[in-house]
Structure formats: C-alpha cells, structure tokens
C-alpha cells in the first residue's frame, strides 16, 4: 500500500504562502524571476526550507512537509508554466528531484 504524502504534510511551512502569493500576484512573480533571494527574504522560511528551495530539492521540501500540490506549482513557477513547454520541463525536473532519475532513465 502506498503511503499518502497528504497525511504527513506540515501546513505551518512558509513555503506554502510563497507559492500561493506567487500564483496570485504577477508583480511578485516578476520580482521572483529578477531577484529570487530578495523575495525569499520576505518569508519566514526555516534555514533548511530556504536551502531546499534554492537547491530545487523537492524531495527535501516534501520530507519536511511541503504539500505536493503546491510543490508541483512551485516547479512551474521556477521552470515554466505553458502547457507544451515549460510545464513539461517543470514536471520532468520535479520528478527527477523526487526520484533521483531523469525522464527516460
């Protein structure tokens, strides 16, 4: 039986607010693309949480309790959000981070 990741998430993590705000605010997205560190400074991220974002380490984020649905959205905020291009790259990079394998391996 697969263990549900949903039951181990930690709703108190600040990364959830980061993703929600980036989704809802085009100006913040532009700032994130221009100065990611400056945007991360605005959120009370734990040290390991911030480091995992910076390293694109989704496995570490999920292990500390990030909700996977917002993890998928964070990957699109980082790598791209269009159906036929960036969103596919985002999925591939996210899966690679979680499994340690690139697509096709």
């Amino acid at each position: 039986m697969t263990t549900s990741r949903l039951k181990s998430y930690d709703p108190s993590l600040a990364v959830h607010d980061l993703v929600q705000d980036l989704k809802w605010d085009p100006d913040l997205r532009e700032a994130f693309a221009r100065d990611e560190a400056g945007v991360l400074d605005r959120y009370p991220l734990q040290g390991a949480e911030r480091l995992a974002i910076e390293k694109r380490d989704f496995k570490a984020l999920y292990d500390m309790g990030m909700h996977p649905y917002l993890g998928g959205q964070l990957s699109r905020l980082i790598w791209g959000n269009d159906a036929g291009g960036g969103a596919i790259l985002a999925v591939n990079n996210l899966v690679a981070s979680l499994t340690g394998k690139r697509q096709g391996e």
Binding site: Y9, P68, Y69, A87
Partner: protein, 294 residues
C-alpha cells in the same frame, strides 16, 4: 419542487486541453465525444441552472484556513485565472452565475448541518471549472452556473461518506428549498487517476480507472461507499485521484442510478486517465434515498 434533470461526472485534466492536438486520434475521439455528449445532454435536459462540484486545488484559500466547500455567489464567473491560462491553454470565458440559487444552497447546507463557505465576489478558477466549461462549451448554452469548490487535497479531507451526505443534502435543497419547477443539472468535475506534484506524475493507474468507471456506472452506491476510499484513491495517484469525491457528491444527490460512459482514454502526456459518466435519472432505475433532516 425543484428537480435534478441531468447528472454527470467528468475529468478536468488540463493537459487534455493544451496537448489535445498532439494526442493520438483515438484519445482525441473519446475526449471529444464525452464533452460533446455533456453539452448535448445538458442542452436537451433544459436546466435552469448548472451546479458544478470540483476540487479547489488550493486556488482560492490559504492552506492554514482551508474551507471544505466554497460556493461562488457571483452574478458572473470568468476564467481561467491569469496564472493558469498558459498552463491549461484554454480560451477565456464568462458564464452567468445565479446569486439566488447560490444563496439558497449556502443557506440550505448550513441549516442541514453542513459547513460551507461562500464567496460573493470573483473566484479564481483553474482547470476545475475552466476545462468543463470550455471543452463542453457550457458558456454557449446561456444557462447560469453555480460553482462549489471542494477540498479534495488538504487533510483532513471530507471523505466518501461525508461527500455522499453533502450530495443528499443537495438533493433535499433542490427538492424543498429551490423555486418550484426549477430544473437543475449537476456535474462532478475531477479525476481520474493522477498524482500532480508527486514522484508518480507520469503514472496513470488504468486498472483503477476502469474499475472506477464501471463502479460509477453500476449505480451500486453501497459499493461506492465501501470501496471508493481515500486510501484506495491515494494508492492510484496521491493528491489527484481523490478529487473523485466530487463525483460522490453528485451520486449522493441522484441516489443509486445507472450511468453511461463514453470510453476510457489513456495518454501519458495527459498525466491523468480520462473517462466520463452520465447518469440516467429515470425513476425506475433510481431507488428512494433517505431524507436529510432539515
């Protein structure tokens, strides 16, 4: 007394829109035929309002204060929300809302002991409402739509028994609280197996999907309530498959009745299985449902 005149469950996978042109013809045909049937049968049923239950996908509320059900009360609904446009790849749309029906639904649920929140302004719609509206061209029908966005992914989640009870309350509201002779179409939007954001993003559980479609069309709601568990859906794709609870709400509203599917399509790039069910509401197939105390 109001009446349910149409009921269906249909997936809203976004890649099915943006990557539709790249899909094999047999997959395109099943998607096309299913949405064409949705459109045609709703039109033929002549509803006064369409009520859609769908996963909110964390699109409207913070995770720390997350409603289990959120009804959209606006006079008009527009979508998709700007960040989701390139991801879905669908056209913009505007569809009439129905503030009176939404208010009746809100009031009726609260009075029946079901906590439901309501948003008088604009909701942010992603694939949940945008895909059925645009793929089914529901905005061309001139029929108001009332969205009810549902918590399918933030624990603790209202599971199958609770969703069924919400559906029973919905039927009770339609029958007792809505204006006499009001005709209502119901859609459960979501599924089939998928794992958005997970390590099995590309995995589609075909065996589960075919089992579920057969179960949904069987009208055997005892089995639905016993077998369509959170754990079983999580095993078929964590954080995605569970939005089939929106179908369970509609099943609770119709009571046991048989349904028709328009085929099953599996395509890796969609990252989700596809198949729809339209339920036949003839009285001879439906069994009496228990009344929910007002």
């Amino acid at each position: 007394m109001g009446e349910i005149v149409f009921a269906a469950g249909i997936p809203h996978l976004p890649a099915m829109v943006g990557l539709y042109d790249r899909a094999p013809p047999d997959v395109q045909a099943i998607v096309h035929n299913s949405f064409e049937a949705l459109h045609a049968e709703i039109k033929a049923a002549r509803p006064d309002v369409i009520i859609v239950f769908a996963n909110d996908h964390l699109a409207n509320s913070r995770i720390r204060g997350y409603p289990d059900f959120l009804i959209g009360m606006a006079d008009e609904h527009r979508g998709p929300h700007e960040w989701f446009k390139p991801w879905i790849g669908c056209r913009d749309y505007a569809i009439k809302g129905d503030r009176n029906v939404a208010a009746t639904l809100f009031r009726g649920m609260i009075r029946r002991g079901i906590r439901l929140f309501a948003e008088p302004g604009a909701l942010k719609f992603d694939d949940n409402i945008s895909v059925p509206v645009t793929m089914g061209n529901l905005d061309s029908l001139g029929i108001p739509l009332v969205p009810v966005l549902q918590n399918c992914i933030v624990p603790p989640i209202p599971e199958q028994q609770r969703c069924y009870e919400v559906g029973q309350a919905l039927a009770d509201i339609i029958e007792i609280d809505l204006a006499p002779d009001m005709r209502v179409a119901l859609i459960g939007s979501g599924g089939l197996s998928h794992e958005p954001g997970g390590s099995r993003y590309y995995v589609i559980d075909e065996a589960f999907d075919r089992w579920f479609l057969d179960l949904a069309a069987s009208g055997d709601h005892d089995r639905v309530l016993k077998e369509l568990t959170f754990e079983r859906m999580e095993a078929s794709g964590s954080g995605g498959t569970v939005e089939l609870f929106s179908w369970v709400v509609i099943m609770g509203a119709t009571g046991p009745c048989k349904g028709r599917s328009f085929g099953y399509a599996i395509h890796r790039d969609f990252r989700c299985g596809f198949g729809a069910v339209i339920w036949d509401l003839e009285p001879q197939t439906a069994q009496p449902r228990e009344q929910v105390p007002a």
